[in-house]
C-alpha cells in the first residue's frame, strides 16, 4: 500500500471524490437529458432507457471528461450517439433530410413565415420534419446550443450545421406556409414578395 493510503484506504476516498465531481458536474443535467431523450424517442420507457445509457456511458468515460468544461454539451454528445445507435436499427423514414432539401429547393421554399401560427401548427410541422432536421432545430432553438456546440455534438463540420439548419428551417417554413395556404390564411404565391424567394 502506498504512502497516500497510509492509515486509510486510498481507493474508496478517491472513488468518493470522483463521485462527488460526477454529482456536481453531470447529474444536475439529469432532467434536461431525460426531456431531450423523450423528445427524440417520444416514448417515456424508451427515454428512460436512453437516459440511463447516457449516464452510464458518462460515468464510465468520466476519466476522459475535462473538469469545468461544458458538461451539458458533453452529455448531449453522448445522448446523440446513443440515439443514433438506436435508430440505426430501425427502418428509415420515407422522406429523409435529403428529400426535404430537394423538396425545399424544388418548390422554392418561401422565405416568408406565416404570421398567424399556433403552437399546435408548429408542433405538427415539427413532427413532419425528418428526424435529422427536427433534432438540429431543437438543439438550436430549445437547447440553445451554438453552431459550434452543435457541430461538436453531432460530430459534423460547422458548415454542415449551418446548411442543415437552414434546410430544416426552410422545410419547416414550407410546411407552415402550405398549412396556412390550405387553411386560406394566405393565398399562395401572392404571399411571397417578388425577388425574395430562395
Amino acid at each position: 500500500m502506498g504512502l497516500l493510503s497510509f492509515g486509510r484506504p486510498a481507493a474508496p476516498s478517491l472513488t468518493e471524490r470522483i463521485r462527488e465531481d460526477f454529482d456536481r458536474e453531470v447529474l444536475p443535467h439529469f432532467k434536461e437529458i431525460y426531456r431531450a431523450a423523450l423528445r427524440m424517442t417520444r416514448r417515456p420507457a424508451e427515454a428512460e432507457d436512453v437516459t440511463q445509457e447516457v449516464f452510464l456511458q458518462a460515468w464510465k468515460s468520466f476519466d476522459r471528461y475535462e473538469r469545468g468544461t461544458n458538461g451539458r454539451a458533453w452529455l448531449y454528445k453522448i445522448l446523440w450517439n446513443v440515439h443514433q445507435q438506436k435508430i440505426r436499427k430501425r427502418v428509415p423514414t420515407p422522406l429523409g433530410a435529403e428529400g426535404e432539401a430537394i423538396m425545399a429547393e424544388t418548390l422554392a421554399a418561401p422565405e416568408i413565415t406565416p404570421t398567424e401560427i399556433t403552437d399546435t401548427e408548429v408542433s405538427g410541422a415539427l413532427e413532419n420534419l425528418s428526424d435529422e432536421h427536427r433534432q438540429i432545430v431543437l438543439l438550436s432553438d430549445v437547447d440553445e446550443f451554438t453552431y459550434k456546440e452543435i457541430a461538436s455534438i453531432l460530430k459534423i463540420p460547422i458548415g454542415t450545421v449551418m446548411s442543415r439548419l437552414s434546410r430544416a428551417r426552410a422545410a419547416l417554413r414550407l410546411m407552415l406556409h402550405e398549412n396556412a395556404r390550405r387553411a386560406g390564411i394566405i393565398s399562395g404565391p401572392d404571399a411571397i414578395p417578388q425577388g425574395v424567394t430562395s
Binding site: I18, F30, R35, D63, R67, G71, V122, V142, S166, V196
Partner: protein, 322 residues
C-alpha cells in the same frame, strides 16, 4: 463583373434577399456584431423584413415552448439511476492517475467563494461554499438565467468595446427616442437616468442581439478611454442567480450581493464573465446590467459597482412602478 442595379426595386430586393438569408442566424444569435447591426439597420427601414424577423423570432419561441413542454421524469427514476450508477466501479482511468489526484486536491482546495461586498470602510466578508456540499436540487436552479450574465458581458465586449463610438453625448430627445424604441415601458426615463450617470455620458443607444437575445444597449463614456454599458433585456429565461451556489454547475458563477443601504431592497448581483465585470439587478419583467471590461474604464477601480448602485435600483423600481 457585377451588374449594376437597374432600379431601386432591384436594389431593395437584393438587400432584402441578403437580410432574409441571414435572418435565421440573426434570430439564433450567431451573427457578428457588424452583421447584427446590418440587420437592425435594414429592419428599421424595411417593414417586410422587420415583420419577417418578428415572425421568425415568434416561430423560434414557439419551438422553444414546445420543446420545453415535455414532462419531467417519473418520480423515483433518478433514484433508480443513482443506485444503478453507484453499483458501477469508478472509471479505470482514475485508478492509476496521480495527475488526477493532484488536480482533485487542488480543486477541492480552491472551492467556490461568494464575496459579500460591504459599504466602504467595512471589511469584506467571505463565505465559502464547502467543496463537498451537495448541489442544489434541479428544481431550484431550473428557472435561473445564468446566461444573462454572458449576454451582458458579450454586449460590452463585442459591441461597446469592439466599435468606435462618438465622444459627444446623446441629446435628451435622442436618448428619449432610443429608450422608447427599445422598450415602450422605458419611455420618459431619460431625464432621471441622466441625473444618475455619475460623471458618465450616454454616447450611443440601440438594440442589439447577443446570445440570441435582443437587448437594449446604452454605451457610456467617462473621462478615461474605457466604456461602460447599461443593458436591459426581458426576463424571459428566469431569475438572476443570487449567489454562486445557485449557478447550474456548468457555469463559473461567482456572484455576490452588493449591499450597503444605498440600494434599498434591490439586490445587486456581481459577476465576471470573459474579463468583463457585470452588476445585475432583477425587475418584475426585465433584467438590468451595468458592465465594464477589466481595466477598461479608467478613473475608478470598480466603475460598474459605483454606477450600478446609483442606477440599477432606480431602473428596477421605476420600470416596475411604471
Amino acid at each position: 463583373m457585377k451588374k449594376p442595379f437597374s432600379s431601386v426595386a432591384d436594389f431593395k430586393a437584393a438587400a432584402c434577399g441578403r437580410v432574409l438569408r441571414l435572418l435565421d442566424s440573426y434570430v439564433a444569435g450567431e451573427l457578428t456584431v457588424e452583421s447584427n447591426h446590418e440587420i437592425l439597420d435594414h429592419t428599421e427601414v424595411c417593414t417586410e423584413c422587420a415583420r419577417e424577423a418578428d415572425s421568425r423570432g415568434r416561430l423560434r419561441a414557439s419551438v422553444r415552448r414546445l420543446g420545453g413542454s415535455f414532462p419531467e421524469p417519473r418520480r423515483g427514476f433518478e433514484q433508480e439511476l443513482r443506485a444503478r450508477l453507484s453499483a458501477v466501479p469508478a472509471p479505470s482511468g482514475f485508478r492509476s492517475a496521480p495527475a488526477y489526484l493532484i488536480a482533485a486536491v487542488v480543486m477541492l482546495g480552491i472551492g467556490v467563494t461568494i464575496v459579500v461586498m460591504r459599504p466602504e470602510g467595512s471589511p469584506p466578508q467571505v463565505a465559502a461554499r464547502p467543496a463537498g456540499a451537495a448541489p442544489r436540487p434541479e428544481s431550484a436552479v431550473a428557472a435561473l438565467d445564468v446566461a444573462a450574465f454572458d449576454v451582458a458581458a458579450s454586449t460590452q465586449l463585442n459591441c461597446a468595446d469592439a466599435n468606435e463610438w462618438p465622444e459627444a453625448p446623446l441629446s435628451t430627445p435622442q436618448l428619449a427616442t432610443a429608450l422608447a424604441k427599445g422598450e415602450p415601458r422605458f419611455a420618459g426615463l431619460e431625464r432621471e437616468l441622466s441625473t444618475r450617470l455619475a460623471g458618465y455620458r450616454v454616447v450611443a443607444a440601440h438594440r442589439c442581439m447577443h446570445g440570441g437575445r435582443l437587448v437594449l444597449h446604452l454605451i457610456l463614456k467617462g473621462n478615461g478611454p474605457g466604456r461602460l454599458s447599461i443593458v436591459a433585456l426581458p426576463k424571459t429565461h428566469g431569475s438572476l442567480p443570487k449567489n454562486a451556489s445557485e449557478g447550474n454547475g456548468s457555469a463559473n458563477v461567482n456572484a455576490s450581493a452588493v449591499d450597503g443601504g444605498q440600494t434599498g431592497p434591490v439586490l445587486l448581483v456581481r459577476n465576471e464573465r470573459q474579463g468583463v465585470h457585470v452588476i445585475g439587478a432583477e425587475g418584475a419583467r426585465d433584467l438590468f446590467f451595468v458592465s465594464a471590461s477589466r481595466g477598461g474604464a479608467a478613473g475608478s477601480s470598480d466603475p460598474e459597482v459605483e454606477l450600478g448602485r446609483r442606477l440599477l435600483p432606480f431602473l428596477v423600481t421605476a420600470i416596475t412602478a411604471g
